[in-house]
Symmetry: C2
Subunit: 209 residues, 2 copies
DNA sequence: CCTACCGATCGGTAGG
DNA sequence: CCTACCGATCGGTAGG
């Protein structure tokens, strides 16, 4: 079997029924970036991964920056599917906060992207690199903060949390839980750290009860 | 003035009385890595920054990995000087926790390294790259966790925090505060987020009082 | 989507 | 510490 047919076989493996080539490329891009970062994501590596030439990729994305932007979009879609959406199905307030965190911990534990948490890494990596990609990462963060803020405000409103709690402080704390779980899990590779993270979340939501 | 004398002038600027060339190189390396990451730190850029040839750097560090390891060491020394040591001078227990966080927030606000928080970024960046550099970053994290654990245990012992508090959970939470402050500050560039972080820390340490 | 190429930069080495 | 070089890879383009 020649190289060409191997490439096609790999692409077929990556592609699901009815899924576009662009979508298969972006799933691979998110996976590579979850290991090597958004800067470390190279067009050559990505081309090899999906069994395509570099110029084939340039037909889909005109530049590395456009590829990075599309990759951030795809990562946001995955996060919404796997973490945000399940949380929205839980009862309003504290249960949504807990469901979001639980969905996130499972997303981490399952190593859904191959490497670590895409947005934890992207925030640290792109934070010091002004430009459209940083803005896209920041916009995702703002969206997640908004979601958490709504859950927290609702929890206070429904007296699941004391009335003197501050939603903004809660958003900061839950962001911290996400980042600490991500960093700790990625460095240790030990699912036990997620047990500790779950305890922290549970206790935090039972405070003042 | 020729290029050669410009280079020497730059090196002189970077060097303080009695400071070794190696030390000046490493300070520049930490600064560059705080912006571009430990992978993004290139020997060519670093050589230009300190006004030296690439091969001049190879006389000090035999490989990029050795340079990265030395850079992690230097960053740890700076963190210990600016954050850990001041905390150790505070009264034992909760005041040490608060002093460490305050020193960290000031370290961030002052933009002490030029870019963001070296170890927040390094943990996310190297977490997915097995090898000696990741181990060095993990070892620093373990050391900081140990320090926080001691402060937390002491706070509980002295009844500054309730006896049902778990030091390990507190370590996780404070790690989260550090990471959330770092990510938030780097993305927004707004010192106001550190005000929120300070409130969270203060409230957390007054819980159960 | 491909082959074939571009200049720039990467980490690293030879020889002084 | 330097100049001068190595092969590999980077992002990107020409032409089909």
């Amino acid at each position: 079997m020649g190289e060409a047919s191997e490439r096609k076989a790999r692409l077929r493996r990556l592609r699901v029924e009815g899924e576009s080539t662009r979508s298969a490329i972006l799933r691979a891009a998110v996976s590579l970036a979850s290991v090597d970062g958004l800067e470390g994501l190279s067009i050559g590596n990505l081309a090899a991964e999906v069994g395509m030439s570099k110029s084939g990729l340039y037909a889909h994305f005109g530049s590395k920056e456009e590829l990075q932007l599309a990759t951030v979009e795809e990562a946001a879609r995955i996060f919404d599917d796997e973490v945000s959406r399940p949380a929205l199905s839980a009862p309003a307030g504290a249960p949504q906060l807990e469901a979001l965190m639980e969905a996130y911990f499972e997303h981490l534990e399952r190593r859904a992207l191959g490497g670590g948490c895409f947005f934890s890494s992207a925030a640290m990596e792109m934070g010091t690199r002004p430009g459209p990609v940083k803005e896209a990462v920041a916009a995702f963060g703002a969206g997640l903060d908004g979601l958490l803020h709504g859950f927290a405000a609702s929890a206070i409103e429904q007296h699941q949390l004391p009335p003197d709690e501050d939603p903004e402080q809660l958003v900061f704390e839950f962001n911290g839980f996400i980042l600490a779980a991500s960093a700790s899990f990625i460095l240790s590779g030990d699912p036990a750290v997620l047990g500790l993270a779950r305890q922290v979340v549970r206790r935090r939501l039972r405070r003042g009860r």
